[in-house]
């Protein structure tokens, strides 16, 4: 039978999960020039998933993920490898990085490196891995029934 988690955990999760996800996205985006990056952001998003798991169990995690955990992992690997091959497509070396300068007038200007795309891949791999671990290893009693 399933034990209902404490009220504190459930209520806490409601505020924590969105915050954690926003911060993890922030870390992912700034990662190229500042502390952060795909791995750290992915781990933080994985932490958010862990909170969801603690408050709602396996079902909550499954319903939160849009696609199966393995597919997130695969999509991440493909994004990262596609970025790596991207260098070849533009006649440069494997894993070579490019940069895109965006000038949006009033909104300021950004420079977006292809390293960001690679980081997105890493982010997805880590999230996929953490959710696979949660779904496979967490709460084995529930799985066996």
């Amino acid at each position: 039978m399933k034990v209902r988690p404490s009220l504190l955990v459930e209520t806490g999760a409601r505020t924590m999960v969105p915050t954690l996800l926003v911060v993890s996205a922030f870390l992912l985006v700034v990662g190229h020039d500042s502390p952060g990056g795909g791995f750290v952001g992915g781990l933080l998003a994985g932490g958010a998933l862990l909170v969801v798991f603690l408050s709602g169990g396996r079902a909550a995690v499954t319903s939160m993920l849009p696609v199966p955990a393995g597919a997130i992992l695969g999509a991440g690997i493909m994004t990262a490898v596609a970025t790596a091959i991207g260098g070849l497509v533009f006649g440069r070396a494997l894993l070579d990085a490019g940069k895109l300068e965006i000038d949006a007038g009033w909104f300021g200007s950004w420079s977006v490196g292809s390293a960001l795309l690679f980081d997105v891949g890493v982010f997805l791999v880590v999230v996929g891995l953490v959710s696979t671990v949660l779904l496979q290893l967490g709460d084995p009693e529930e799985r066996e029934e």
Binding site: I77, A93, L95, A97
Partner: protein, 485 residues
Amino acid sequence: MTTVVSLLVAVPLVAVGLALVLPSLALRRAVSMAASLASLVLSVIVLVSVDGGDAISVAVGGWTAPIGIQLVADRFAGLMLAVSSTALFGVLAYAVGQRDTDDAFPAFHATYHALAAGVALAFLTGDLFTLFVAFEIMLTASYVLITHRSEAAQVRSTMTYVVVGLVASGLFLIGIGLAYAATGTVNLIEMADRLGDVDSGTRAGIGWLFFMVFGIKAAIFPLFFWLPDSYPTAVTPVTAIFAGLLTKVGVYAIVRTQTLLFPSDGPSTFILIIAGLTMVIGVLGAIAQGDIKRILSFHIISQIGYMIMGLGFFTVAGLAAAIVFIVHQVIVKTVMFLVGGLVETSSGTGRLRDVSGVLHRYPVIAVLFLPAALSLAGLPPFSGFVGKLALVQAGFSAGQWIVVGVSLFASILTLFSMTKIWAGAFWGSPTTNLTRRPGRAMVAATGGLVAVSLFIAFAGQPLLEVATRAAQDLLTGGAVTIGGS
């Protein structure tokens, strides 16, 4: 050409991603086979290109070595890539033909291609730390493959495999740390330059540490204990590809580091002693066993001894012979395990006591077994003969009579042990458990690899010439310069 070399690592990784994303088994199989075939074609292109011209060097990320990571494809790496992707493709075809391998294990194709990516990276890498990463990719994939179906009886053996692999990885890291402290670089070519100035005792210490680390992976004499227990516990395709490839990647790393970083002027008595002991102890272990896969597992160890012997001569002829022998072993060892798997599929057991008369019931299995077994024992006109003859000749010209004598003795015992399988499983009256005809695809995949091994024998002379050029590259420091292409 640098693009092709880069793709050799990238294609298996794309296959990993696709195999995880695709929902249906049929699609996964199609993508997996296509990627494996593409790797095979690419590696043959690389081999032809590097044999005709210079070695190819890729500066990853546009950063030239020694700052960036360098991928290097020379003749030795090209040969190893071509033969390993052949074996990977053959075994994948067998696994798809067997049906229940990837049916019962949804992530089989993804893990298999992760293994392939690790193997390709290990052959191509030009720096020590990337070699470590490549080993980890390959080994982690192998941990998953070997353990995914282990039951209570086997979980201990597979645990040994994982733990031994991790200890070796830890030692490898320590070795990299020491080598970096001594030379200030992890690029293999630059390290080879700088190791000349390092104190000879320090150099020898680092050299033997690496020899031990790769020796664990390659299962040489005192470090082989983990292999015969763990390999037979996996499903047939997994055991076959482990037997054909993983230990040979260890041998490749030994050859690469010993020739490039720690070259020796004359024959190394220590390596030759290890080689002799590995051959004899491995084959004696094989004779004592009564299960086809366990017999073959001990033979892996025994055959590693021959490769190490070729290295131990430290002559062009010896290294060339060792390379030819590795090429032959990758294919033949894989075939032997696949045939063992066919026997198990048809009878439900691999114990020689419980099965006999396969020859009369399913002659096709016997037809596949015979050339592979005779090749393993080194009889003409099969592929093992080419390698062993070259090894013996190299040993004679290096004046190492004793170890050559030991190797011939081990060959006779190998033949005896093959006879034991033949007499036990193939001759005699068919046992009642021979009820399941092996699938056509499995037989075809095995047959294809047997044909490759016959082709190796047929093309023995050109292969030996390529291997001799590869060995010259290895002993003269190679045609590759730091960051050059």
